[in-house]
């Protein structure tokens, strides 16, 4: 925070509207909030131990020290690499990441040491440690992105490379044999040895960057109106191309990978970016109509997609609660048993919901922290989205604007799709819950997203470069 300009400097800079209030870096705020985040996570971690066995969890000190060291490292890197960045993003993400670790530990302990319950797919006894390693990798990528992308504009150079990378990553599991890519009927991952990678998590980011820079160059033509139908200005047919292509790719995804969630996500990302770039409402409508039409016909054409709708509409009918709607209704029962204040960490039975550690982790929080805790978690996500959108509003250059707005909206959409899915607001589609789900790809990708938002907010809040004033005082020339 050494570079805060004084009002004297500003005056010397020849700006008539000075003295102006220069934005502060606010890294101290970030540090204080990080302490708060760590305290909250440590409290929750201790709570699990007390809830289960009435004592502090073994290994808590080591895990918490590792967590603190990782966050301190990230904070120091931000001080150096993005000193003007938004002060809340890192603490918000750290809180969610920490709660994810706590829940992983809680679920790992199910059935061990005389704790009640058993998991449909038990977590290994090192699951918590592995999650902390993923956190380390995630924060490592976070720092790397901040270090490599010093200016958002450098990303614009690789518009098509990012696009290609994104498409390849998305398409990879569909092209690979089902043996290494299929999980629960959807082909969305790559299994290599003991590791699984979900390439879609990274594809979203690559495509986001690619879309944003494509739109910056094409936004003028895209906003040209063509024919007017039903009071809506339709874009010119040749400009409609990119939407059609993305729509087609997202449908192909549906077909080959049985993954409505991801296709909804990047369809939403693209349409939102188009709208920000062109300000034409018609794009929103067209995108929405195309997606709904595609999803509807998919539900008619493919049995498993249609089944998702049936489960959503009639989860409690007939044998559904015991068969295909089992996971959904168990998650809902869990949340219902949690009620307003929850069962307390370690006090509920989240293990009754199959695979609660991944897509259904939100229901585990709902059960043990109650409606109150779940709403707090949703508000944490809401705040990240809000910081992203605020960045988008304040940043000047169009690329950063589209990228920040698009990424923030995509995060909101992802939360909506998965939390809405498990709470039966919308049909359930399996996508991960950022930061909270157990697993590495989602966590690392989420930290990269936070890094991008922080880089963009750093750009937005950075004071303008100091004018070069080496010529000395302006000389008065007398013209008589």
């Amino acid at each position: 925070m050494s570079s805060v300009a004084t009002s004297e400097d500003a005056t010397l800079g020849g700006m008539p509207d000075s003295p102006m209030a220069m934005p502060r870096g606010r890294r101290r705020t970030e540090a204080v909030m990080l302490v708060f985040a760590v305290a909250l996570v440590a409290f929750a971690y201790a709570n699990v131990g007390f809830g289960l066995k009435g004592s502090l969890p073994s290994g808590m000190a080591e895990y918490m020290i590792a967590f603190v060291v990782l966050l301190a490292g990230a904070h120091l890197a931000v001080r150096r690499l993005a000193p003007w960045a938004d002060p809340l993003l890192l603490p918000l993400a750290a809180t969610l990441n920490g709660l994810g670790i706590v829940m992983t530990y809680r679920l790992q302990e199910v059935g061990r040491d005389g704790n009640p319950g058993s998991m449909s797919v038990p977590l290994s006894s090192s699951a918590t440690l592995v999650q902390i390693v993923y956190t380390a990798i995630g924060l490592g990528c976070f720092v790397a992105v901040l270090a490599l992308v010093r200016e958002p504009r450098v990303l614009q150079r690789y518009t098509y490379i990012f696009g290609l990378v994104g498409i390849v990553l998305l398409a990879l599991p569909a092209l690979l044999p089902a043996g290494i890519s299929e999980v629960q009927g959807a082909k969305i991952q790559i299994r290599l040895g003991g590791f699984t990678i979900q390439p879609e998590e990274f594809a979203k980011l690559a495509l986001g960057v690619s879309f944003a820079s494509y739109l910056v160059t094409k936004r003028d033509v895209l906003s040209l109106a063509g024919r007017r139908v039903l009071g809506i200005d339709l874009p010119r047919a040749r400009d409609l191309g990119p939407v059609i292509i993305v729509w087609a790719v997202s449908l192909l995804l549906l077909v080959f990978e049985s993954d409505i969630g991801t296709s909804a996500l990047f369809m939403g990302l693209f349409v939102a970016m188009l709208y920000i770039a062109t300000q034409r409402t018609s794009w929103l409508l067209i995108g929405f109509v195309l997606f709904v039409a595609g999803a509807y016909s998919a539900s008619k054409l493919f049995a498993h997609v249609g089944e998702r709708f049936q489960i959503w509409l009639h989860p409690f009918a007939g044998q559904n609660p015991f068969n295909n709607a089992f996971q959904l209704v168990q998650g809902i029962y869990g949340m219902a048993s949690g009620g307003i204040l929850g069962k307390g960490l370690g006090g509920g039975q989240p293990y009754l919901t199959p695979l609660v550690q991944s897509d259904f982790v939100v229901t585990a929080f709902g059960e043990e922290l109650g409606m109150t805790g779940l709403m707090a978690i949703l508000l944490l996500y809401g705040l990240i989205v809000q910081r992203g959108l605020a960045t988008s509003l304040s940043v000047k250059d169009p690329f950063s604007k589209i990228l920040a707005g698009g990424l923030a909206f995509m995060l909101a959409l992802q939360i909506f799709v998965i939390v809405g899915g498990v709470t039966r607001l919308i049909p359930l589609t399996g996508i991960t819950t950022p930061f909270l789900s157990q697993g590495g790809s989602s966590l690392v990708a989420s930290w990269i997203l936070i890094a991008l938002l922080m880089r963009l907010s750093d750009t937005a809040r950075k004071p303008p470069p100091q004018p070069i004033q080496d010529e000395g005082m302006t000389q008065v020339v007398n013209l008589s």
Binding site: P116, G117, A272, Y275, I276, A277, T278, Q279, F316, P321, F322, F326, V329, Q330, I332, Y333, G334, M335, A336, S337, G338, G339, I340, G348, Q349, L352, G366, G370, M371, L374, M375, L378, L379, Y381, G382, V385, Q386, L389, S392, L393, P398, K401, I402, G405, A408, F409, A412, L413, I415, F416, V419, G420, T423, R424, L425
Partner: protein, 489 residues
């Protein structure tokens, strides 16, 4: 671009508001109704997290309670007198329940809306939550007498005793019975094993014979036939009717005879008064009366006594006692003496006597006296209600005279019990019901009776499967129950 961004922000805000609203709906508003949805084992486990209410008898004996045993299921249900009270308490198992445990579940768990305010107060004052105590109408002396008598008889059967003035069930026993403790085990595998064993037991211990099984009423149905005769037929106990030693049933080759082919009464010439026919239980006399009245009249009277009613609850459902319309004269004759397709529950047997004991008014039977919240306040209590009035007080008095005669007259079928309870006059009616294909089965012994002592009165119905004569197998049990209740007044 900022205009579009603001709109995108509003869209994001709307999505979060929808999520928050939905979470509120699920966890605050719908949470209660979700606990009853299929497959919700969490709700079931939750029941065991706090103390379920007790079930007690009217005189305060605890017959079901929850004990703290620790573990996932913190509380273990215990039935101190398992088999004796099983027909009343039922069981509360991991995934199902029966009897009062099922019917009064919302009070026992404390989930009833009547207890909602108290639960909130308990939550605020940090008192451990406890379900309400359900007090039954059962009298522990009567119940114990009923169970002991059934057990020592060693034959399958059931006893129901009622307070005729209120309909309160004073005893309800069924033999062979089961131990509900075996179904209250918290280990799922153990539970399945125990359950399977009980289900496959040829003695059918899970069958509550008192209210869930029906048997032919035999001659006890003559109470109903007499009621119809005195009400619709303008007869009285001294009316002389045809009571031949043998009666050829119309349009059949079947000859209906009295017990052991004996003559009815001492008048000779095939005639007898109704009271004599009732006292000696002459089949031919009541077959004739029934044919004169017609099946529709008998059916209407039987229904006033509570038969053909599929909706009776005490609070558990009681199976229907049947009196089908039998227009063929020969069948009308058979059904008038409680044979053919007449079937009754032991509870229905007690209801016959209770009606007469209560001057012709049948009270609705009930098993739950009151419900007491954990703070000892009464949240629900029984209010006795009349179900119907099958006969006028005058007719009831005439039938009472006949039922007294069954026990007090030297020729009565239950004369052996004349002085069974010193100072107490017992009014009763025996039944010995043929059953099985072509009456090949052993006769069921049936006895229905009532008596009063001071301000205590009781009506009892007993059916013993394959017991033989009603007076021999069923009456001693009924008398033992009367004695236990009336002498402890």
């Amino acid at each position: 671009m900022n205009r579009a961004l603001r709109r995108i922000s509003i869209a994001a805000l709307v999505m979060f508001v929808l999520l928050l609203a939905n979470v509120n709906y699920l966890q605050a508003f719908e949470a209660g109704s979700l606990t009853d949805k299929p497959g919700n084992s969490r709700a079931f486990a939750a029941q065991f997290q706090y103390q379920r209410g007790e079930i007690t008898t009217a005189d305060g004996k605890v017959i079901a309670e929850s004990k703290n045993v620790g573990g996932v299921y913190k509380y273990q249900r215990v039935y101190p007198l398992g088999q004796e009270y099983a027909p009343a308490t039922g069981y509360d198992a991991l995934y199902s329940a029966s009897g009062v445990e099922s019917a009064e579940n919302s009070y026992l768990t404390g989930n009833s809306s009547n207890l909602a305010v108290r639960n909130v107060i308990d939550m605020i004052t940090n008192k451990p939550r406890k379900g309400a105590t359900v007090q039954l109408t059962l009298d522990s002396n009567a119940q114990n007498a009923a169970w002991s008598a059934l057990q020592s008889s060693g034959k399958a059967g059931a006893v129901v005793a009622l307070n005729p003035q209120t309909g309160a069930i004073l005893a309800i026993a069924s033999y062979p019975s089961y131990d509900p403790n075996q179904l209250a085990v918290l280990d799922g595998n153990q539970l399945n094993a125990n359950d399977k064993k009980l289900l496959t037991d040829p003695n059918q211990p899970l069958l509550n014979r008192a209210t869930d099984a029906t048997f032919p009423p035999g001659s006890t149905f003559k109470i109903v036939t007499s009621s119809a005769a005195f009400t619709q037929g303008n007869d009285n106990p001294n009316t002389v009717v045809d009571a031949p030693t043998s009666l050829q049933l119309p349009q059949t080759s079947t000859r209906l005879i009295n017990n052991n082919g004996e003559q009815c009464g001492t008048m000779g010439n095939g005639k007898a008064t109704i009271i004599t026919a009732f006292t000696e239980s002459c089949n031919t006399a009541f077959a004739n009366i029934g044919m004169q009245l017609g099946s529709a009249t008998l059916k209407s009277m039987a229904e006033k006594y509570g038969m053909n009613d599929p909706n009776l609850k005490i609070p558990s459902s009681v199976v229907q006692s049947n009196f089908p319309l039998e227009p063929a004269q020969s069948f009308t004759a058979m059904s008038a003496i409680g044979q053919k397709d007449d079937t009754v529950t032991p509870l229905q047997e007690a209801m016959f006597s209770a009606t007469i004991a209560n001057n012709g008014t049948l009270m609705k039977p009930y098993l739950v006296q009151q419900v007491q919240a954990a703070d000892l306040s009464i949240v629900d209590s029984a209010s006795p209600a009349a179900l119907s009035q099958p006969v006028s007080p005058a007719a009831a008095s005439e039938i009472k005279t006949m039922m007294l005669s069954v026990v007090s007259s030297p020729d009565g079928t239950a004369a052996a019990f004349k002085n069974a309870i010193p100072g107490v006059q017992i009014a009763g009616k025996t039944g010995t019901a043929q059953n099985g294909v072509n009456n090949s089965g052993l006769n069921d012994a049936v006895f229905t009776c009532f008596a009063a002592n001071g301000n205590r009165s009781m009506a009892v119905g007993v059916i013993i499967q394959g017991g033989g004569y009603g007076a021999a197998a069923a009456a001693p049990i009924a008398v033992a129950v009367l004695k236990a209740y009336l002498e402890n007044g």
